[in-house]
Structures are given as structure tokens and as C-alpha cells.
């Protein structure tokens, strides 16, 4: 897995609440057997009319070339619905490294963390202040200090992250490495309950 620590970037504001994983990546794109290439179908039905790449929906934020960056900022309850990890893969494959919201759905949050995509939960007020920024504004994220900063104003908020997961992201470790290293304890557990 990729390592994450500091990210300094512009951001893409998606001012929608309850963004479900069916919007992030519609079910018809789940027929793949690899993890690659989901980015081109990210928010597919919000991006294009009639599934046609030649007919982009002009008012959708990803189609506005004046927005860019590695940080996606969205309204509360982001990633609700299906457990499809393809949603996290699509966001990552599109080029985002961080998703900021005031509230994440549980399974999406885990899927993001397991893929080196950092979900940052901020207060409603902080989220509103990001949405109020102009499109050239930048954000700075420091995972080590667990802070997100609006560079123009210096406004900073700290965010929570499980200490174990933080270590994983900073070092590029994944859970499987950890679990495999504990195989003896797992076998012992099985023996004792049999």
C-alpha cells in the first residue's frame, strides 16, 4: 500500500449529502475482476448524460476543469449504502488521496483506509468554511499531526484516526501483514475453543 503523510493540494467540492456508493460507482461497472481502471467511471451517471462520455453534464463538479486537486470534499454521510470497495478504488484511481466530509459511512471508511485513501472527518462548521473558499484555495493535510489546514486563512482542525490505522498509513502497511504475523495466536485460539 502507498504511504501517506502530508498532502498540500487544491480540492474538488462536491456539495451533496448522503452520497451513496451506487453513485460513486454504479453496479454495472462491478463486473470487473481486477482493481484497476474504475476512475473513468467514478460518479458515472452524475458525470454524463445517457452514459455518453461525449455528453458531459456541465454542472457536475468533476466536469468543471477549473477545479482540481487530490482532495475530494463532500457533504455528510459520504459513502453510504453498498459495501463495494470499488467505490474507494474509483476515487483513488481518479487521483484523489484524501476525502473530507463531516460524516462517513462505516464500511466506506474502512475500505478507504485499507486502500491508502485517507478519510478525514471534520466539523460541520469547518466543512462549511471549506465549501465557502474560492476555487484556487488549497488545503494542507498532515497525518502525523492529524491536522487539516485551510492555507489561505490558517484555520486548522485536528481529526481523529485510530492509532493503529495511522501507523499503517504512515508506513504503507496493511492489515494482512499484521494478521499473518499473528497466525500462531489464531491457531491457538482455534485449538482452545474446539
Amino acid at each position: 500500500m502507498n504511504k501517506i503523510n502530508t498532502i498540500h493540494s487544491r480540492f474538488v467540492p462536491l456539495q451533496e449529502e448522503n452520497v451513496d456508493t451506487d453513485q460513486i460507482i454504479p453496479a454495472r461497472f462491478l463486473k470487473a475482476t481486477t482493481r484497476d481502471g474504475f476512475g473513468k467511471n467514478l460518479f458515472r451517471d452524475w458525470r454524463y448524460h445517457n452514459d455518453n462520455e461525449l455528453a458531459p453534464k456541465q454542472d457536475f463538479i468533476l466536469n468543471d476543469a477549473s477545479y482540481s486537486g487530490q482532495i475530494l470534499v463532500a457533504g455528510k454521510n459520504f459513502g453510504c449504502g453498498s459495501s463495494r470497495e470499488h467505490a474507494a478504488w474509483a476515487i483513488k484511481d481518479y487521483g484523489f488521496l484524501v476525502v473530507v466530509s463531516s460524516f462517513f459511512a462505516d464500511i466506506f471508511k474502512n475500505n478507504a483506509l485499507n486502500n491508502g485513501l485517507l478519510p478525514i472527518t471534520v466539523s460541520e462548521a469547518f466543512l462549511a468554511s471549506i465549501f465557502a473558499l474560492d476555487k484556487e484555495a488549497t488545503l494542507s493535510v498532515c497525518l502525523k499531526n492529524q491536522t487539516i489546514t485551510i492555507d489561505a486563512t490558517g484555520a486548522v482542525e485536528t481529526f481523529e484516526i485510530n492509532a493503529y490505522k495511522k501507523t499503517c498509513l504512515l508506513n504503507g502497511y496493511d492489515d494482512i501483514d499484521y494478521l499473518i504475523s499473528n497466525k500462531a495466536a489464531i491457531e491457538n485460539f482455534e485449538k482452545n475453543r474446539a
Partner: protein, 466 residues
């Protein structure tokens, strides 16, 4: 202090606590299907490791299978390749597969319980958010992502943080025409699509005790629609009677041992919950959704909310967006509104009891000519039972189309889709934009309310037909 049902199961499955982190949780049963497993198999192979406990895994093909002509090769090339990949992976790794054509094949959350694989006290996971269904048997069951599928492949364990616990008591007696789907749609409408995020929910109370296992599964199934990772119900005589004699249920002395353990699985009287709610069953009407998340639902006699009913500007915006997509107007009544499709199926409502309910309402009636009605049984076993009980005759005479088992129009992965702009009363679990096909407009309801819409061709208060 006493323990909750959840804690009793959780505590006996902890292999190890991680300092400042999650716990290593042992998983008893791992269900897999064709859509969320291929990348996990690939991951295992790339790491050069084998599957740790293949005997704990059960596979089926359900999400991406056709519901017509299942004996023929799948025509969609991508779908066929995905299903073939599952077959190949299961063969390679020694995993039991109930694929197309197998008598046990069906929707993963229908077959686990009906085969007696799902048993009280277990930890159960699957790469599908509706794994919460199995909680109806007093299990810790939850949906996971593909990386987590890979973790369970590698170690039969997951790193998990203990969730908060909520108990929802539903007390009293349900009114005429009100069924378990209405209970859960009512709860989600009350606490919102994110109201239980971070929690596991135990459902309790006299109204829950009175429900069959199928009805309990419907409630636990939709726990995820209010954000809960899972829902569970303490096992009781109804549970034990359901399991006894099923294909993989314990028998003989093993049954007695299992039963003695299962009977200890309940929340102690002095157990503490982080949040507790009580609902009067008698206040619940047949429910229907009007919006684009399962929390946007109303009693069938109520009107679609207006901006004035919303708590803040954000909610007002969400409502306006949902109503625009649905082609509905704030303040309108849904009753009498024409619909073009009725879908009866999905892991929420495709069990034999659901189909019996539908049959009881439509017996001797025919569907409205302007509605297409599709019934998709949850499993081969349910499909067989439909014929044995003669329900197929009732459905055919009513003009309903009966398909073969699969997830079908619940998520629109296969050919079973609702055309853009058309309305579908659906017994499934999600009314998200495009869920049943790009532009499709889904109204979630119970099997009874769906059957009433099929007969009348318009949204109907089923109580007027009883």
C-alpha cells in the same frame, strides 16, 4: 454488570487485543459471491499465500447472474467471465460452491439461513452490506469490503473496533396489513439513513418476539440502511424451531450441546446500551418511500414532506433533489399514483413467507394491465417450494412473471432493470438514484403493498384490499 447479546458473542471471538487499536476478531463463517471476491483471490495469490481455512467459506453466484435460462451459458461476456472466475477460484482453493444449477444456489443471505449454515452465536461476514440479515439468528454478522475478504482468506480473522450498541424495542401488536418490512422502513424513516452509523442494533420487544424468522431477517437485513454495520435479535424457540432439521444444522448430541449454548444468548437484564429507543408497533402503518435513500419514507396515508418539514437547509436541498429525481411534488399523496413495475425479490423479501404473503393477496385476482410484475425467488429452494405449494399457479393466473433465483432488479447488475423515468414498487432495500437501472424510480415497500400496487396499477393502501 451484565452483558449484551452482542458482547457475549464478541467476547468469545476475540483472539487478541491490539494496543491502541482494533481487536483481532475470529470469523466463523465467510460467505463469498462472484462480484466482491475475485480481487481478494488475486491478492492472496500475489502474496504467494494460501487460504487459511477454506472449510469455513461458502460460495454462491447471485449478484451478477441472469434470472432466465440459467441452464444456458451466460450471454453477457463480462458477467460470464466473473462467474467463471468464481468457479475456477473455488476449485483451485477447495471452497464449497453453490453455483448456477446447484440445488443450494441462491441469494447469499437467503441460502445461509435456509441451509442451516447460519447459527446463533456465530460471527459471519460477506463482501456484501446486507450480511446484517444473518443477525436475525443472534449472530454478529456484517458486510465487508474486498480487502477485508482477503484478510479473512488469509487469517480467518479481521481487525475490528468494537462498535457502539443500540437497542430498539418494538412493543405491542402490529395493525392489519402491517408486516416486518414496514417496521424497518418506519425505523429508518424515524432515525434517518445515517442514524445508526457506528452502532450495532439489537431489535427486541414483544412485536419482534412475535415475528417469524423470515420476518426477523427482513428487519436485520435493512440495518445497514440506517448506517448500522449490523443488527441482531436474540435467538428463541422460533429460532431453534427454524434451524432444527436443516441441511447443515447440528443433529443428535451436537444439537443438544448447541441448543444449551444458544439458550444463553440474550442481553442480560442489567446490560447497558449506548442508546435505546422504544417504538409502539400499533402506530406503524404500511410504509412506502418517496425519495432516493431508504430514510425518505412515509406511512401510506401520509403526504410527501415539504421544505417546511425539514430541519435545516441541507435537508431541504436533499429533499428537493430527491423529489426532482423521483418526479414527485412536495406535499402530494402517493396513493392512486400509477406505477409501471412491481419487483418482488431481493435478500430483503424473497423468502417463501414473503411469496406466500403476496399469493394470499393476489389469489383469484389479476394484475393491472399497465404494470409488469416480476417475482424473483431468493433461492432454488424457495423456487421449488413455490411450485410445491401451488403459488406459481396463483402468480401465473395473476399475470406475474416468475424468474429464477438471484439478486436481479434489486441492484440492476444483470438484464433485469427498470427503464429511465418509470416507477417501480420494489420489495428490495435501496431506492438510490439509478439503483434499479439508470433513471429508474424506486418506491420501497412490503411484499403486501407491492402486491396491492400490482393488482390496482396504482399505489394502494393494502388495508383496503384485506
Amino acid at each position: 454488570m451484565g452483558k449484551t447479546l452482542f458482547e457475549k458473542i464478541w467476547d468469545t471471538h476475540i483472539v487478541q487485543e491490539v494496543t491502541d487499536g482494533p481487536s483481532v476478531l475470529y470469523i466463523d463463517k465467510h460467505f463469498i459471491h462472484e462480484v466482491t471476491s475475485p480481487q481478494a483471490f488475486k491478492g492472496i495469490e500475489d502474496r504467494g499465500i494460501s487460504i487459511f481455512r477454506p472449510a469455513h467459506i461458502v460460495a454462491t453466484a447471485d449478484h451478477n447472474v441472469p434470472t432466465l435460462n440459467q441452464h444456458l451459458p451466460i450471454t453477457d461476456a463480462l458477467s460470464r467471465f466473473q462467474v467463471d472466475t468464481l468457479i475456477e477460484n473455488c476449485k483451485k482453493h477447495g471452497i464449497e460452491l453453490y453455483g448456477l444449477g446447484h440445488e443450494h444456489q441462491g441469494i447469499v443471505h437467503v441460502i445461509g439461513p435456509e441451509l442451516g449454515i447460519t447459527q446463533p452465536g456465530m460471527t459471519i461476514v460477506c463482501g456484501d452490506s446486507h450480511t446484517s440479515t444473518h443477525g436475525a439468528f443472534g449472530t454478529i454478522a456484517f458486510g465487508i469490503g474486498t480487502s477485508e475478504v482477503e484478510m479473512v482468506f488469509a487469517s480467518q480473522c479481521l481487525l475490528q473496533t468494537k462498535p457502539k450498541l443500540m437497542r430498539i424495542n418494538i412493543e405491542g401488536t402490529l395493525g392489519k396489513g402491517v408486516v416486518s418490512k414496514d417496521i424497518i422502513l418506519y425505523i429508518i424513516a424515524k432515525i434517518s439513513a445515517s442514524g445508526a452509523t457506528g452502532y450495532f442494533v439489537e431489535y427486541a420487544g414483544s412485536a419482534v418476539r412475535a415475528l417469524s424468522m423470515e420476518a426477523r431477517m427482513t428487519i436485520c437485513n435493512m440495518s445497514i440502511e440506517m448506517g448500522a454495520r449490523g443488527g441482531l435479535i436474540a435467538p428463541d424457540q422460533t429460532t431453534f424451531d427454524y434451524i432444527k432439521g436443516r441441511t447443515f444444522a447440528p443433529a443428535g448430541a451436537a444439537w443438544d450441546t448447541a441448543l444449551a449454548y444458544w439458550q444463553t444468548l440474550y442481553s442480560d437484564a442489567d446490560a447497558a446500551f449506548d442508546l435505546e429507543l422504544t417504538i409502539d408497533a400499533a402506530t406503524i402503518e404500511p410504509m412506502i418511500t418517496y425519495g432516493t435513500n431508504p430514510g425518505l419514507g412515509i406511512g401510506i396515508t401520509k403526504k410527501v414532506p415539504t421544505a417546511a418539514d425539514m430541519q435545516d437547509e441541507g435537508e431541504q436541498k436533499n429533499l428537493a433533489k430527491a423529489l426532482e429525481y423521483m418526479g414527485l411534488t412536495a406535499g402530494q399523496s402517493l396513493m392512486g399514483m400509477p406505477v409501471q413495475h412491481v419487483f418482488i425479490g431481493s435478500c430483503t423479501n424473497s423468502r417463501i413467507e414473503d411469496l406466500r404473503l403476496v399469493a394470499s393477496l393476489v389469489k383469484g385476482k389479476t394484475k393491472n394491465p399497465n404494470v409488469q410484475v416480476m417475482i424473483v425467488p431468493g433461492s432454488q429452494k424457495v423456487a421449488k417450494q413455490v411450485v410445491q405449494e401451488g403459488l406459481d399457479i396463483i402468480f401465473r393466473e395473476a399475470g406475474f412473471e416468475i424468474r429464477q433465483a438471484g439478486c436481479s432488479a434489486c441492484l440492476g447488475m444483470n438484464e433485469d432493470k427498470v427503464p429511465a423515468g418509470e416507477y417501480c414498487v420494489s420489495t428490495s432495500n435501496r431506492n438510490f438514484e439509478g439503483r434499479q437501472g439508470a433513471g429508474a424510480r424506486t418506491l420501497l415497500a412490503s411484499p403486501l403493498t407491492a402486491a396491492a400496487a400490482a393488482v390496482n396499477g396504482v399505489i394502494t393502501d393494502v388495508r383496503t384490499l384485506l
